[in-house]
């Protein structure tokens, strides 16, 4: 693990990441020894820093640290945590900020192979996400809602939980973004008030456009989920998971366009 470029597995208790969750993170797939979708992850991190007014480290340095942590391994996961650093008085951000960056490698998660092929079972969560445009879309270190939602089930055959906001809008999974399929049309929730704008979600949106698959970004309700003939989940590690069941309701995992899956799996797991 690297803390500001130095081998270290611990962080100061006074760091604002520890004190307040005052920071952001990225979870990046490593394939063929390379961090996949690097530019997009850096764009999102930089955008998050701009919105939270955290100082963004030079991404060339970050990339060097990422390669040091990958250390020649072919497949795995890189996590980058960026906090506002230490200092300031209480919640007040320090006048002279120096962000703290953590970079570390972990093993590739062993999800059952069937998840990608035959689809996953999904739990509809009781917890409702709060709405806050100031934080919406960002992958911040404030993730208690996701922790509580993920704590709602322990059946290992359930791969993910779907979340609505307080007004009943479908938003995302606890660790993934959501796409609904109505005939050939795709839709994905508007993330202007809640949720994390995933990097793989962006890849799906672009590839759908390239393939001529109609796609709408909008507020989606439970009735849209019930009327869909298919749905799928995305994130940087899983790529695409078709869904075969939400609570007791069945969906056709083959409703997901194979050409879209191919395009996303091809673009989503390379360095660019």
């Amino acid at each position: 693990m690297l803390l500001n470029g130095n081998p270290e597995s611990r962080i100061s208790i006074l760091d604002r990441g520890v004190q307040y969750g005052d920071g952001l993170f990225e979870t990046i797939a490593v394939a063929g020894g390379e961090p996949c979708l690097w530019q997009r992850h850096m764009q999102r991190l930089e955008q998050g820093c701009r919105r939270l007014k955290i100082d963004f480290p030079e991404d060339d340095n970050l990339l060097l640290e990422v390669y040091r942590e990958i250390n020649g391994r072919s497949q795995g996961v890189i996590k980058i945590i960026l906090t506002r650093g230490s200092g300031g008085r209480g919640y007040a951000p320090p006048a002279n900020q120096k962000s703290t960056r953590l970079v570390y490698y972990s093993e590739w998660p062993e999800y059952p192979a069937g998840f990608s092929q035959s689809g996953v079972r999904v739990h509809l969560c009781d917890l409702r996400l709060g709405r806050n445009p100031a934080l919406a879309g960002l992958k911040t270190l404030n993730r208690l809602e996701q922790v509580l939602a993920r704590g709602e089930w322990s059946d290992p055959d359930i791969a993910e939980g779907l979340l609505q906001d307080g007004e009943g809008n479908l938003i995302e999974g606890t660790m993934s973004n959501l796409f609904l399929i109505h005939n050939r049309n795709l839709s994905t929730p508007d993330l202007g008030f809640s949720g994390v704008a995933g990097v793989m979600r962006q890849v799906v949106m672009e590839q759908a456009g390239r393939l001529g698959i109609p796609l709408a970004v909008k507020m989606l309700k439970m009735r849209d989920l019930l009327s869909a003939n298919g749905l799928f989940l995305t994130n940087s590690l899983i790529g695409i998971w078709p869904v075969r069941e939400v609570n007791a309701k069945k969906y056709d995992p083959e409703a997901v366009s194979p050409s879209l899956v191919d395009a996303v799996m091809c673009r989503g797991f390379r360095f660019e």
Copy 2:
């Protein structure tokens, strides 16, 4: 600083407090060498643990650690951070939890003496708090909303910022709770959807009851703020701060009942 009872100033990067803000904290005034309102802080922490399903350490051990950190000093601040510890897969909480506890002392904050006597100036924040009953009332480590709100002003003469939720309900200050005064009647926001249920807020509510001052807990709107003849802020370190100005609007800091202030300052800064 003590980490699980051992002198240590750093915490594992893999701790869920660092990764997700998966934990709670307490900020406790030290007066006469004793942690003030100890029982109430422990009640709130225990209640937070119950709601988040974090395992609560024995509070006798915690109290011994608090005295070790106070180390004979008369006045100061003790902060306790309690996280869900390490482990689990992603957001999923670990099957065998072992919470991490941090206890450390810091200097008493030097607020200008005039804040308590002549009242404070307050900024009405642009940021709106999200609403989430699952987290409402708890002092969690997810505090990015407060950090962003506190970043809205840098004028040292402004002591605090007032926050509304997304529906325009007045909730609290960035680091304090809010009470409005209409003639002799007090009201304080219902914290069922947002906000932190402060320990000093509870003391104010009890002392108001004891003194026969009518007090309502309810949803409050901007019109209630505008029609108030006074307001004040509370937390465990400041006790009571009357407010003399919110943006351009003036309030009478002497609208706050002196007998209530006396009762709260007397009860709020002793060990019990």
